[in-house]
Symmetry: C2
Subunit: 459 residues, 2 copies
């Protein structure tokens, strides 16, 4: 009864501008995304692929996408299973110098050390090129990858030290690798992340050290040899079954044309992944709720996807692209949310010529959210990358990431860093842009075929 009265008291608008109004005011007034995020992180917690937490995350996704009139399914994904263990390291005492414990955390994909750990001298490099130059001094040593990350943009610049550095060092005979955390702030808090060892190639123990400990190693190395003892108990277990969660809001006119809105359910294990990518998951589920509550469905199908295993394998996204290969030509747009909970700054695209003109007709409702600008950067996303070959147009609500890498992949990725108002504004922008993509009379022109290369490393 109360609901009925409320519906009568608030006439539901029908025209397109009024849908924008409805979506945006609902998102901002209900703070629904924040409520969902709170529930996810407080009841499920961390969600590393293959863990009980990830399974609970899948169940959470199914539960919260059900009952909205969507077609909800779990789609099987085989995921790698990596588990953290003991993590202990120290700079061994030297001439006139006591030992220093190091704050560090194993990188995903790292093997453990043998029981008792290993001990070796450290050699410092600040690029993959310098590693090759110093190849003769790497054998039998621990390679320390240092860098000067200071702003979020540096993540792309230095990220390869973490993803590719340890494997490159292993090829040169290094016994272990220590990578300075990819972080824009630190309280002695190491930031994990995946490191890539190719199947069949030699893998060595690899860990991220805190920014403070990187500074320490750098200072000590300036005074003479530095020896480190490292013990890691991490292990790689057999692959396990997990799932993507897929929910379709069937389109009223073109049900076979799909607008995909995605985020990743899995997180690292050091924290609850409030921003990486709990925020994205909450934004997707809230968009589903907001769009499903409209009196009329959009013209096209909106597919809400919660991907598994973005962090350490991208298996969910790869599996989706394979399982839905025949549908990809009908994916008229895809948008991923995997940049935290910051406020919206504008919209970016990766599409064909003329896309911007179409987009600009949808921007006016976003102005009051501070997101009414077209931004000259390529929309992208790790979970979107396997769809690039099918020339799926990408869209993106670009968010403020000023403080995202303060906490990214660290134990500090917790709810308290999320600003309620900023997050609700992003939720509003996402809901409206998704609707616009799905209900517009014309669709985004498709981008040219991508230059063949590896998939994006934006995780």
């Amino acid at each position: 009864m109360v609901v009925a009265i409320a519906l009568e008291a608030t006439p539901v608008p029908q025209a397109t501008p009024s849908v924008a109004e409805t979506l945006i005011s609902s998102a901002q007034e209900s703070h629904g995304a924040f409520t969902l995020l709170t529930d996810l992180v407080d009841t499920v917690g961390s969600r590393l692929s293959g863990s009980d937490g990830a399974a609970a995350g899948v169940a959470w996704g199914v539960q919260h996408l059900s009952g909205l009139g969507l077609e909800v399914s779990k789609e099987s994904v085989l995921v790698p299973v990596w588990v953290r263990g003991l993590e202990q390291a120290e700079v061994v005492a030297g001439k006139g110098r006591r030992a220093h414990p190091l704050a560090l955390t194993a990188l995903g994909g790292s093997p453990g050390t043998r029981r008792g750990g290993l001990e070796a001298d450290v050699v410092e490099v600040d690029s993959l090129a310098e590693l090759q130059e110093r190849a003769p001094s790497v054998r039998g040593r621990i390679v320390f990858f240092n860098h000067g990350m200071a702003v979020p943009q540096d993540y792309r610049r230095f990220g390869q030290l973490r993803t590719k550095g340890p494997a490159a060092a292993a090829k040169l005979g290094a016994v272990a690798a220590l990578v300075r955390s990819l972080a824009t702030a630190s309280m002695r808090s190491p930031h994990t992340g995946q490191t890539d060892f190719k199947p069949g190639e030699v893998a060595i123990p690899a860990a991220a050290i805190s920014v403070e400990d990187a500074e320490l190693l750098h200072r000590l190395l300036a005074t003479g040899p530095v020896r480190v003892h490292l013990a890691l108990g991490c292990r790689i277990l057999p692959d396990a079954r997990s799932s993507n969660v897929v929910a379709d809001l069937r389109g009223r006119e073109h049900p076979d044309e799909i607008v995909l809105l995605g985020a990743h359910l899995d997180s690292w294990d050091l924290a609850v992944g409030a921003q990486d990518d709990g925020a994205g998951v909450a934004l997707v589920v809230e968009a589903a709720r907001l769009l499903a509550a409209l009196p009329e469905r959009p013209r096209r199908t909106v597919r809400f996807v919660l991907f598994m295993n973005e962090e350490n394998g991208l298996r969910g996204a790869k599996t989706y692209a394979i399982d839905h290969a025949s549908e990809l030509p009908h994916h008229v747009a895809a948008m991923e949310l995997d940049a935290g909970a910051g406020r919206p700054l504008g919209v970016a695209l990766k599409a064909g010529a003329g896309a911007q003109a179409l987009l600009e007709t949808w921007l006016p409702p976003l102005v009051k959210l501070g997101a009414g600008s077209f931004l000259e950067e390529d929309a992208q996303g790790a979970d979107l990358s396997p769809m690039a070959a099918a020339q799926v147009p990408f869209a993106s609500v670009v968010q403020d990431t000023t403080h995202y890498f303060d906490i990214h992949h660290s134990a500090a990725d917790t709810l308290d860093k999320v600003d309620l108002d900023a997050f609700s504004r992003t939720s509003a922008a996402v809901a409206w842009l998704t609707y616009a993509l799905a209900d517009s009379e014309s669709v985004l022109p498709r981008p040219p075929p991508p230059v063949p290369a590896g998939t994006s490393s934006a995780r």
Copy 2:
């Protein structure tokens, strides 16, 4: 030879303003305090009372104060010995909720739990008064002391929750205490510190939880009962012998009148104590070097004291006050450095009527350091507190502490947080003010006798 030429090329000034000039420019150009601090933290590391690190700290202090023409001695202090061990806790899984690991660290003075830990429901209070109000619900529970620390000034407001809360909870039958870290920033980084259990009274395991985990507990408690499992392996060992380091620069006219400049050698064990109180130690030793290098000694004796055990017992300061009781009436001023490495903001006093007028004649050289103001607050310091009864005048170079409690007592108290220029400015201000106190024709009037109370808890 090079030294001799350098001395000829730089005529040494003789008049008082020129001494200020010499001290201030030397401190700022050499960055001597920063060099000393770097050496202390990189070669000695953490220095908890009774540890090998503390012993190395004493040796470091003696070494760096020797060879300057000072009379250096170690003065025996019996210190408590507390050692950290296993630290593990989690919110136990509940109805519809998975378990949550808690980032926490034992408080100094805490006993360990029995092997296997303890488990109990949590009751939250935000003041000692609320603890008493909720006394009937405390027995058998874990008391969670929450608070809203946001700025450095809050350390005095909420500090008693850490120092007195656990003992008060123990008296009411609590089985453990969790105290929200006293911190102005957090990356899931708990801040330790001493908690005071009186001899003979019941002690319970007590730990600081990170700000993030305090927020989590608060949210979960709003939804229903919260049960925590806590395992602490910390232990209290028998007292051990350690030392204060005392170095006198004998005065040229009034050798029996003493200006004391002190800082504390010990630190907590989670980090190297770069700012608490490595910074103070370096400032004291650098002041000794700068004053000893002057062509003429000050009129009065300057006594440089590196106190032991400020953090968890104040035994060094108490022992000093007892061992030097007969000299305290001739302590004409005492100044303590224990507020980090921030820039100098001005000078404060705790002295008798007329002191400000005398001080103001010494302030002009400090203007260019940004520290030329008399500040209307009481100079103080934990290691000075046992001298208050003897009406020793206190002086203080007040420092910027905006970010001090971001890292205070945490694993993040490392060198990289120290700003070179700010620290050298403080070093300059300290050297000059110490000289002025020791060379002035008249001395600070002594303050009135203190109101009897406990000693300061400003640690």
